[in-house]
Amino acid sequence: MAENNKKLNEIGLSRSDYKGKPSTLCLGCGHNAIVGQIIAACHELNIPPESLIKISGIGCSSKAPTYFMERSFGFNGLHGRMPSLATGALFGDTTLLGIGVSGDGDTASIGMGQFKHVTRRNLPLLYIVANNGVYGLTKGQFSATAEEGLALKKQGQNRYVPVDIVWEAIAGRASFVARSFSGDPQQLKSLIKAGLHHKGIAVIDVISPCVTFNNQDESFHSYAWGKSHEVALHELSFVPPVRAIKVQYAKGETLEVPMYDGTHIILKKLAQDYEPTNRAKALQMLEEANDRNELITGLIYINPKQKSLFDLYDLPETPLNRLSADRLRPSRESLDEINQLMY
C-alpha cells in the first residue's frame, strides 16, 4: 500500500497527492470504498487536482469530498441542493471536471427535484450517489431507497416502496447511468473513470452499505446481500486513447463505446447480451432483474453524443471567471443609445 502511494503518475503526482483529510466515517462504511476508488481513478487518469471541483449536499455521503483530493476546490452545500450549486459553479470555468457526491436521502428524498433537473440539463458532472437506504447522521431512519418491509431498530417496518435511483436517472434523460457496489471496487473504479470522461451528467448509483444502521444480511443495501445478489452486466474497462491498441478481445465478445474525447469504454459480455444504448430496453432490463431479485451493476445506459448544458450557451474559450472586467461592461455609447430608446 505504502509503495502504491509513492508511485508517480504521468503528471508526476503520487496517490498521496489525491488524498483528503482522514475519514471520520465509520470503520467499514461503504463510502470509504468510494472515496478510495475516486482517488485511484483520478490518480490513474492523471487529473491535476486543481482542475477538478467536488461538490456535495448534506449527510454521511456528502462528507466524503473532504476525504479525497485536498488540492481540489470543494463545497459542502445544502441538503438535497448539490446539483444547483454544481451547475452555478461549473459555469465559472467549464474546463473544470466536477464530482458531485450525494446520498440516497440527499438525492431521492429532499433533492429529487434538483436531481431530475440536473439530469435533464445534462450538466457535465460525475454524480455519485452513495446509496445505503438509511439516514446515518440522524441515526437510522428509512430513506426513500429503503426497500418495502425493511426493519430498522427504532423505526419498525418500512411501509413504502422504494425509489430506484437508476430508474429515475434514465427517466430523467441522464446521458450516462450506472450502478455499482462498494464491494466491487474494480468495476466502481472503471465506471468513475468513464464517468469523468463523459461529456454530460454521469450518474453512478453505488450501493454502499451502512455498517452501523443498515447492514443486516437480508437488507438490500448490505454487503452480504450485495455480494450474493450482484449480477454484473459486463466486465467493464475504460481505455485512454494511447492504450487502445493494447487491449485485445475476441470478436463478438465486446462492445466498444467511443467517448467524445477519443477514449473508449469496452464492455466485455458476461452472462447476458446487453447493449446500454437504448433507454426503453434499459428500463425493461431493470424491471426484469428486480423480479429476479438481482442487483444489476454496470453501465446501464449511455448516450455519449447528447448535448451538454454548456453546448447550449455559446461561451468564450476563456473561462467566464477569468474574463477581464473591461470585457464585462458594455460601452458608454451603447448606454447613450439605450437612453435614446427609452423615450
Binding site: 471541483i53 446539483p83 444547483s84 450557451y313 458608454r332 437612453n339
Partner: protein
C-alpha cells in the same frame, strides 16, 4: 389610518387643469389595452409633459378587471392619485364602480355598448360608438378586440389636445417599427379622432399643452432599469424562476444581454442566464456561481424569497457574493401577487437561520434601479456577502419618468480575489477566512485557479481561518463576529441618504423606495398647510451615520412605509433604542401605492392640526 376615514379629511385639493390631471382607464385584463394606454402615456411624454402610468392589474390572464392610471403633472408629481379627472369605462363589470373615482365635473367616457345605469349627474358624459368606428376601420376579425381600445386613444387625443405625430411615434416604438400594425392602429385612432371632432363639444378644463419638461428624461419601468444596471455592472450569471412581479427583470436581461454582452473579440457570450426549476435551485446556482468567481444574481418576490432562506444563510456564512433583487408584492402568503408593498424588509434584512444580516439597497427613482443594479454587484464582491436590492411592484412594473441612465462612474470592482500570480507572492500566508488586512474582509480564491495552494473547502458548517471544519467555540465566535463586523463596516460605503431640508423644520420624515414620489407631493401640500418637515430618503441598510444623526437631531421623526407593522420603523428603533420613543410609525397597506393625500392627512393628524 385608512383612506376611507373621511371624518378628519381636509377639503379635497383640485389638481385639475392644463397639464395637471389624471385619467383612469378601466378595461378587462387581456383585452390588449396596454398598447393603447402606453401609446397615450408616451405621446403625452413626447409633448414634453411629465407623466406616469400605473397598471392596477389582477392576478389573472384574461377577463378580470384591470385599470390603468395615467397621471399628467406639469408640477412633476408621479405618485398615485386616488381620484381621476377623466374616466374611460370599457369594462361593463366595473362600469358602476368606475364612476366613483371621478371628480365632480369630470369626464366620463364610455363604450356606448355598455347599457348599465349612470348613477351620477355631476359628470360630463360621452359615449363612444366603438362598434361603428371599427366597422369603418374594417379590422381583421382576430384584431377587432385588440384595436377597440385605440378608439379611446383617438377620442382622448381630440378632447385633450394630444397631437397625432407623437402618437405615431409611440406606436412606432411599441411595434418596433413594424409598418402594418402601426398604420392600422393609427387608422382607428384617426377615425375616432374625427368622430370626436364632429360629435363632441365638451369644453373640458383638462388639456395637454406642449411644454419642454421631459427633454432630459426617459420613461421606463424599474425592472428594465435593474436589468440594464446588472448588464452594465458586468453580471456573468443569473438564475431565476418566474414570479410576479419580478419576472420582467430577468426577461429584460434576456432581451438586452444578447445585444450588449457579446464579446466583440470572440463573438461569444460573456454571460449565462438559466431559468431554474424553482427559487431554491435558482439561488443554489447563484451561490455556486458566486463561489466560482462569477458576478451572480437572481430576481424574485416574497414567496420565492422565503424559499431562498437556506441558501442565503449559506452565502452569508460561507462568504459568497450574491445579488438578490426583491421586487416586493403583498404578503403574507400568496397575498396579492399583482399589488405593491414594502413588506419584505425584515425578511430580506435578516433572511436565514442563525445570526444573519444583509446589505440592502433601496432604489427610489427608477434611475437608481439602474445605478444600484451595478453597485450591488460591486458591493457583493467587495464584501463577499449577499446584497439585496429592494424594489417593489410599483417601481418595477410601472412606467416612470426618470433621469437618463448614467454610465457607471468607476470601473468594475471585483474585490479581493487571488489568482495564481498573487498566490506566488503571498506564498504560505493565505487562509480563506483569515483577516489579513484587519478590515474583516478575507481574501478568496476561486475554482479554476490552478495554483497548488489555491483550493479550499467551502462549507456551511463551522470553520477556522483556513476553512477547515471546526467545532471549537473560539473559532466559531471569532468567525461569526468577524462576519458581523464585515457587513457592519459597509455602512458608509453604501448609497447614503438623500436629505431635503426646510428652514425651521423641527420634525423629520424618513421614507424610502417607491413612496418617494408621493412623499415629495405631500411635503408640498404640508408646506401650504404650514407644516415643515425635513425629509430623509433612506437608500440602504445597515443605515449610514447620517441617518442616525438625522434621527438624533429631530424632536420627532416619522417613518413612512407601505406595510402593516412598520418594519423599517422597528429596524431604526433597534439602531437607536434611546430615540425609539421619538420615532413615529406611519405604516399603511392596502395593495395600492401610498398616495400624497394619505401621507398629508396622517401627518396633519399627528401634528394635531
Amino acid at each position: 389610518m385608512a383612506e376611507t376615514n373621511t371624518k378628519t379629511k381636509p377639503p379635497q385639493r383640485r389638481l385639475s387643469g392644463v397639464n395637471e390631471f389624471s385619467i383612469n382607464i378601466g378595461t378587462a385584463n387581456g383585452s390588449g389595452s396596454q398598447t393603447a394606454n402606453l401609446t397615450l402615456l408616451r405621446a403625452i411624454f413626447k409633448m414634453g409633459i411629465p407623466v406616469s402610468g400605473k397598471n392596477i392589474f389582477p392576478s389573472n390572464i384574461q377577463g378580470l378587471p384591470t385599470w390603468y392610471k395615467i397621471r399628467v403633472s406639469q408640477a412633476g408629481y408621479a405618485g398615485r392619485r386616488k381620484e381621476a379627472d377623466v374616466v374611460v369605462a370599457m369594462n361593463p363589470d366595473t362600469f358602476t364602480a368606475d364612476q366613483d373615482d371621478l371628480v365632480e365635473g369630470g369626464l366620463f367616457l364610455y363604450d356606448e355598448a355598455i347599457k348599465d345605469q349612470i348613477d351620477r349627474d355631476d359628470m360630463i358624459l360621452a359615449a363612444m360608438p366603438i362598434k361603428e368606428i371599427l366597422r369603418e376601420a374594417k379590422p381583421h376579425k382576430d384584431l377587432r378586440k385588440l384595436v377597440a381600445n385605440m378608439v379611446y386613444v383617438g377620442v382622448l387625443a381630440n378632447l385633450l389636445g394630444i397631437e397625432m405625430e407623437p402618437i405615431e411615434q409611440a406606436l412606432d416604438f411599441h411595434f418596433k417599427g413594424k409598418k402594418s400594425p402601426v398604420e392600422f392602429n393609427l387608422k382607428v385612432i384617426q377615425l375616432a379622432f374625427e368622430w370626436a371632432e364632429e360629435n363632441l363639444d365638451l369644453n373640458l378644463p383638462y388639456k395637454i399643452e406642449r411644454r419642454e419638461l421631459t427633454e432630459n428624461a426617459i420613461l421606463v419601468d424599474g425592472n428594465t432599469a435593474g436589468a440594464l444596471g446588472s448588464i452594465y455592472g458586468g453580471f456573468h450569471f443569473a438564475a431565476w424562476y418566474p414570479i410576479t412581479p419580478a419576472t420582467s427583470l430577468p426577461e429584460a436581461m434576456l432581451q438586452y444581454a444578447p445585444k450588449l454582452r457579446v464579446d466583440p473579440e470572440t463573438g461569444k457570450n460573456t454571460y449565462a442566464i438559466v431559468q431554474a426549476e424553482d427559487e431554491l435551485a435558482a439561488l443554489g446556482m447563484v451561490v455556486g456561481a458566486g463561489w466560482a468567481g462569477l458576478r451572480a444574481m437572481t430576481a424574485t418576490s416574497g414567496p420565492g424569497l422565503s424559499l431562498m432562506a437556506e441558501y442565503t444563510s449559506l452565502a452569508y456564512f460561507a462568504e459568497i457574493p450574491i445579488v438578490v433583487w426583491v421586487v416586493q408584492r403583498v404578503g403574507p402568503s400568496t397575498g396579492l401577487p399583482t399589488r405593491t408593498a414594502q413588506g419584505d424588509i425584515n425578511l430580506s434584512y435578516y433572511l436565514g437561520q442563525g445570526d444573519t444580516q444583509h446589505i440592502l439597497l433601496i432604489p427610489g427613482p427608477v434611475s437608481e434601479c439602474f445605478e444600484f443594479g451595478w453597485k450591488a454587484l460591486d458591493l457583493a464582491e467587495k464584501y463577499q456577502t449577499a446584497v439585496f436590492v429592494l424594489s417593489d411592484l410599483d417601481l418595477g412594473k410601472n412606467q416612470w419618468m426618470t433621469e437618463p441612465f448614467e454610465y457607471p462612474d468607476r470601473p468594475i470592482e471585483r474585490g479581493k480575489i487571488l489568482w495564481e500570480e498573487d498566490l506566488e507572492k503571498i506564498k504560505d500566508d493565505w487562509g480563506r477566512y483569515k483577516d489579513i488586512d484587519g478590515d474583516f474582509i478575507p481574501y478568496r480564491t476561486v475554482p479554476g485557479n490552478r495554483h497548488p495552494n489555491s483550493a479550499y473547502f467551502a462549507r456551511g458548517t463551522g470553520h477556522d481561518d483556513y476553512a477547515n471544519y471546526s467545532e471549537h467555540p473560539r473559532d466559531w465566535e471569532k468567525n461569526l463576529n468577524r462576519i458581523k463586523n464585515k457587513v457592519d463596516s459597509s455602512r458608509q460605503d453604501l448609497p447614503g441618504p438623500v436629505i431635503i431640508k426646510q428652514r425651521g423644520a423641527k420634525h423629520g420624515l424618513i421614507a424610502f423606495g417607491s413612496t418617494d414620489a408621493a412623499v415629495k407631493e405631500a411635503l408640498d401640500y404640508l408646506k401650504q398647510d404650514g407644516i415643515k418637515l425635513n425629509y430623509l430618503r433612506l437608500r440602504a441598510l445597515p443605515p449610514a451615520q447620517e441617518v442616525l444623526d438625522f434621527i438624533r437631531k429631530h424632536e420627532k421623526v416619522y417613518v413612512l412605509e407601505n406595510n402593516r407593522d412598520g418594519q423599517m420603523h422597528s429596524i431604526l428603533s433597534l439602531e437607536l433604542p434611546g430615540k425609539a420613543d421619538d420615532l413615529v410609525s406611519l405604516a399603511h397597506i392596502d395593495g395600492l401605492p401610498l398616495n400624497a393625500e394619505w401621507i398629508r392627512e396622517s401627518i396633519l393628524q399627528e401634528e394635531n392640526l
